[in-house]
């Protein structure tokens, strides 16, 4: 059994480069150019509609929560506000970071900055880490956004449903960003031209949190923190739930997103919160397709993909036992069968990679 080294400076990072894995061309389904152009077309309308609904709902729920505070009758409104703040911000950060949500660049940038603040990510740093996540998805030592490292630390995964690990990591990092710019690890993927921006964003975020904290202390109430900061914890569960499903239990060190990403059919509310990122194989294969076109893209390429999970529950039933098995055997992963209409997995692409084994071999 292999032992993975997730450090961006570690042995697996070096091996991924030396083996040619980082330079390899990823598999993608063939889609006629005219169809793809249509799918990639940008539009402001769906994202403006969704953003009005999102921010309008947040103002409404927070307003009722404040009005009913400190009664327990305010709790449901805080829970609703929290999910929009602590989970929908993840998908807005993501889509606007790609620049695909809106057609108009400043709209993408504004929603990206607001969402980055809410989800507690330095907007100048994470733009680059996500670029790496797309170049080198789940390549050990190269992808800085691996949510489930092997062997999985199940307690930490569970704590993160309440944002605990993320928040504990975020604030020391933020303060370091504010004081001296990006950390040594961040400097491996953030170009030097943006180091000043990382520090500027850090200073602005520290200032906002400081003002919120001072308000809470001076008023003798946690209410300001219920509006800013804490919803990243009490509302995180949905984005963690959907985020784990993106790649959890699947292969690492492969160059075919059908092996390391998961598409899951979800209910309309989750799809609104998640902005259709449940079509995750599709998104990774064609990141320039906007969220609102992903269902159409799915229809175009689904015959070349493993069958999607039919619900969040079904996907968890597939993923969670795999994660538990990886605790004892970190080489274990789920390998989904392809339909007869699909092009087969290129096994030769994946045989030389350190740590890569078939599920049966790992038993």
């Amino acid at each position: 059994m292999s032992k993975r080294d997730y450090s961006l400076f570690g042995a697996d990072a070096k091996r991924a480069v030396e083996s040619g894995l980082t330079a390899a061309e990823w598999y993608h389904t063939e889609v006629p150019r005219k169809v793809m152009k249509d799918l990639m077309a940008r539009s402001d309308r769906p994202a403006i509609r969704d953003t009005i609904i999102l921010y309008g709902s947040m103002i409404l729920f927070a307003g009722i929560g404040i009005a009913l505070w400190p009664s327990w009758w305010s709790a449901p409104f805080w829970l609703a506000y929290g999910v929009l703040y602590g989970s929908a911000s993840d998908s807005r950060w993501h889509e606007c970071g790609h620049g695909t949500a809106f057609k108009t660049p400043w709209m993408n940038n504004w929603v990206y900055e607001i969402a980055s603040f809410m989800i507690m990510r330095n907007s100048a740093t994470w733009r680059w880490s996500h670029a790496r996540h797309h170049s080198e998805t789940y390549l050990v030592g190269r992808d800085p956004e691996i949510a489930v490292m092997r062997p999985p630390e199940v307690a930490k995964l569970i704590l993160n449903f309440f944002g605990i690990i993320d928040v504990i990591k975020f604030f020391p990092n933020l303060i370091q960003n504010a004081l001296s710019g990006p950390t040594a690890a961040e400097k491996t993927f953030v170009p030097q031209s943006d180091w000043g921006k990382v520090q500027k964003v850090g200073i602005i975020c520290v200032a906002i949190y400081a003002v919120t904290l001072i308000a809470a202390i001076s008023w003798g109430s946690i209410l300001p923190l219920m509006v800013i900061g804490l919803p990243r914890m009490y509302g995180a569960w949905h984005h963690v739930m959907t985020g784990l499903l993106q790649h959890g239990g699947l292969a690492d060190n492969v160059i075919d997103h059908r092996l390391n990403s998961r598409t899951v059919y979800m209910n309309p509310i989750s799809r609104f919160i998640y902005w259709n990122m449940n079509y995750h194989v599709e998104h990774h294969m064609f990141p320039m397709v906007p969220y609102h076109a992903l269902p159409r893209l799915h229809e175009v390429i689904k015959d070349d993909l493993p069958p999607p999970n039919r619900s969040i529950g079904e996907a968890f039933a597939e993923m969670w036992p795999a994660i538990k098995r990886q605790v004892l055997n970190e080489d274990y992963f789920i390998r989904r069968d392809l339909p007869p209409t699909a092009k087969p997995y290129r096994e030769d692409f994946h045989q030389y990679v350190p740590g890569m084994m078939h599920p049966g071999d790992a038993e």
Binding site: M36, R42, R127, A131, S135
Partner: protein, 103 residues
Amino acid sequence: MPWIDACSTDDIDEEDLIRWDHGAQTFAIYHSPEGEFFATAGLCSHENVHLCDGLVMGHLIECPKHNGQFDYRTGEAMRAPVCVNLKVFPVKVEAGRVFVEVA
């Protein structure tokens, strides 16, 4: 530098691009909304992805991998994660053919 016959003007839809390989080099040739033609290096300056699968929006080409954008008329990098400008090549159209001056 030689002018090389790259393609027909009809080979590229308006507001689109094609990949064109010549020798050991790969290029992207663009047809702008105004009917003009342009040529740049074919690979994104960020991570060597072929731009031919990207999206042309007006005078911008968006890389299909990370959504970085360039102005294909000047090669200027316009949107992160691209930072390095694309090399551009002179283009002329004669008798319905697109010629690229290859460096």
